[in-house]
């Protein structure tokens, strides 16, 4: 596994050599760095919402950094300001639909932040075409974050939960 120091060294090299792209893949690891050092970041490539349109759904680039390896569990990039000295897993939505934290409006949520969940435990429901799809955890761990509000629409690959893997 690559550690932060190694990443830092690679970033130094990228800067030093004025690279615009760097990609390294080896078993279980993939790193991809892209810099638009010279070119101004192009609107055509960056997926920035069009000035004329207004996205009611979160922009995919911003909302789903774990998009590269959906549909289920992926290693998230450590976020700025967050400690990342433990292994995190992100549960992403395998389908398009509406996210529900409980089986029925009146019922309590399947899970809450801080709870320990077991592999196979139902985390939420995604409703698609009137069907209720139960989304199960693929890991044992502690639930550290819920990204989506109850009743909110989710896209394919959108992240739902973060788990600290035990």
């Amino acid at each position: 596994m690559m550690n932060l120091d190694e990443i830092r060294s690679i970033l130094e090299l990228v800067r030093e050599h004025e690279l615009s792209e760097f990609e390294l893949e080896r078993d279980g690891l993939k790193i991809r760095i892209r810099k638009d050092a010279i070119h101004q970041p192009s609107l055509l490539m960056s997926g920035v919402p069009a000035p004329a349109g207004t996205a009611t759904l979160p922009a995919p680039a911003a909302a789903a950094p774990a998009r590269e390896t959906p549909p289920s569990i992926a290693e998230p990039a450590p976020e700025a300001g967050e400690e990342a000295d433990y292994d995190l897993a992100v549960v992403s939505s395998p389908i398009v639909g509406t996210f529900y934290r409980s089986a029925e409006p009146a019922s309590p949520p399947f899970v809450e932040v801080g709870e320990t969940v077991k592999k196979g435990q139902v985390l939420c429901i995604i409703e698609a075409m009137k069907l209720m799809n139960e989304i199960e955890s693929e890991y044992d761990g502690d639930l550290v974050k819920i990204y989506v509000e109850n009743g909110q629409p989710v896209q394919y690959g959108e992240r739902l939960f973060a788990l600290k893997i035990s």
Binding site: A50, A52, L57, V96, T98, A128, M129, G157
Partner: protein, 455 residues
């Protein structure tokens, strides 16, 4: 009128539908696979929903994902474009059940026309000439031999569920028949999951002529003239034009009226295309009907001035057609070239990053594309990256405009079919209008050892 349309497609046709919606003041929802995250249709739709991974069976062909995307965004209609789910009676039915309007004909009409044998019978009943042939699937070789003998060789074996040349075999004599039936059934089974085949009279070097129709939900059906699509390679259209040099005004009116009658007979609504073979003696035979927008619709839009996509949306919303048959006038000549990301010689797909994309415009040139400099042509989908449509006062001017446009088009980073189009446009037979579906054979024949050498 609709408030929000979900576009269940990608690439240039998704852009085309966004254009139509913007002109009508309708909001749009793009759906996309992970491979298309940075596509223009995602950028320019008002909303966007990722519906699955790159593989189209899990994204663009995924009916539950498309319907869910429409539901979570509150879209009140779905435009399927062409390809993908555009001729899915199932999607049309689910839309009905979910109270989402499907921009296309009713599911029953899609199903009828999707079954080649039933479509043939329906057209025959409506008085449209069809190719002589077996009136339905053929299940035993003896019966086949008798029918083939009555039709007279050559005959063609075709898949009932067919398209794109698969499950199709030309049979020159009686002793080839049994083998041909076997192969065609196997191909059809593999390609469409249904092995049924039928027999038809085979027409040598015919022209492919198709009529564009559009109907509303108030019983009006209008035709927008014909397109000649004889320039095909492996049953894929390369270049289309309107009008066809093979049709006189009189024949156009007669054929058009016959198509309109047939469309009315099956209660056809929305846009559709009726394809015909025109044999060398001038006889027309119905081939099949496509219950969707066609790739080549721009040539018809160009000569008639009718925006077919906007008209589709209007009639789907229940409006009456905005024009009558008498209002349709044909102005000049239009040619479309499909620019594919393919090696023009080996025909091998050429996906990759387009570094430079510059198509000169000028008078009479329309460009439909979702490509641009620094875009990626994905290997997952259709290789068509742009359609260039040239309009001229006459065919000669349209050809000249197409030529200079292709000569001055710069697409770098991938290979395209532009050199092949330039060969076609320079061909004396093409220029004089002497074309048929065998036209492209000459370019293959020029290179007899092409595949061997490449292999």
């Amino acid at each position: 009128m609709f408030k929000k349309i979900l576009i269940a497609n990608r690439g240039e046709i998704a852009m085309r539908i966004i254009c139509a919606c913007r002109e009508l003041g309708i909001k749009t929802v793009a759906v996309y696979s992970e491979a298309d995250e940075n596509s223009l249709h995602v950028r320019f739709a008002d909303e966007d929903v990722c519906i699955g991974p790159a593989r189209s069976t899990e994204s663009y062909l995924n009916v539950p994902a498309v319907i869910s995307a429409a539901e979570i965004t509150g879209a009140d209609a779905i435009h399927p474009g062409y390809g993908f789910l555009s001729e899915s009676a199932y999607l049309a039915e689910v839309c009905e059940a979910c109270h989402i309007r499907f921009v296309g004909p009713d599911p029953g009409v899609i199903r009828l026309m999707g079954d080649k044998a039933r479509a043939r019978r329906a057209m025959k009943k409506a008085g449209v000439p069809v190719l002589p042939g077996s009136d339905g699937p053929i299940d035993n070789d003896e019966k086949a031999a008798k029918i083939a003998k009555d039709l007279g060789y050559p005959v063609i074996v075709k898949a009932v569920a067919g398209g794109g040349g698969r499950g199709m075999r030309i049979v020159q004599s009686a002793n080839e028949l049994s083998q041909a039936l076997k192969t065609a059934r196997r191909e059809a089974e593999a390609a469409f999951g249904v092995g049924d085949v039928y027999l038809e009279k085979y027409v040598e070097s015919p022209r492919h002529i198709e009529f564009q129709v559009i109907g509303d939900h108030h019983g009006a059906v209008v035709h927008l003239g014909e397109r000649e699509c004889s320039i095909q390679r492996r049953h894929q259209k390369l270049l289309e034009e309107s009008p066809s040099v093979a049709l006189t005004d009189k024949v156009r009116r007669r054929m058009g009226a016959s198509v309109v009658d047939a469309a009315k007979a099956v209660q056809y609504t929305n846009a559709g295309t009726f394809e015909f073979l025109l044999d060398q003696a001038g006889n027309f035979y119905f081939l099949e009907a496509n219950t969707r927008l066609q790739v080549e619709h721009p040539v018809t839009e160009t000569v008639t001035g009718v925006d077919i996509v906007k008209e589709q949306i209007r009639v789907a919303a229940g409006e009456r057609l905005s024009f009558r048959q008498g209002d349709v006038a044909f102005n000049g000549h239009a040619i479309e070239c499909r620019i594919n990301a393919e090696d023009p010689d080996t025909l091998v797909p050429s996906p990759g990053v387009i570094h430079v994309f510059s198509v000169p415009g000028g008078p009479g040139i329309r460009v439909d594309t979702a490509a641009h400099s620094d875009c990626t042509i994905s290997p997952y989908y259709d290789s068509m990256i742009a359609k260039i449509i040239a309009h001229g006062r006459d065919r000669q001017e349209a050809i000249a405009r197409m030529r200079r446009t292709l000569e001055m088009t710069v697409i770098e980073g991938i290979r395209t079919t532009i050199p092949l189009h330039l060969k076609i446009l320079a061909d004396p037979d093409f220029v004089s209008g002497k074309i048929s579906t065998s036209f492209m054979n000459r370019f293959a024949a020029d290179r007899p050892n092409r595949l061997a050498a490449a292999g």
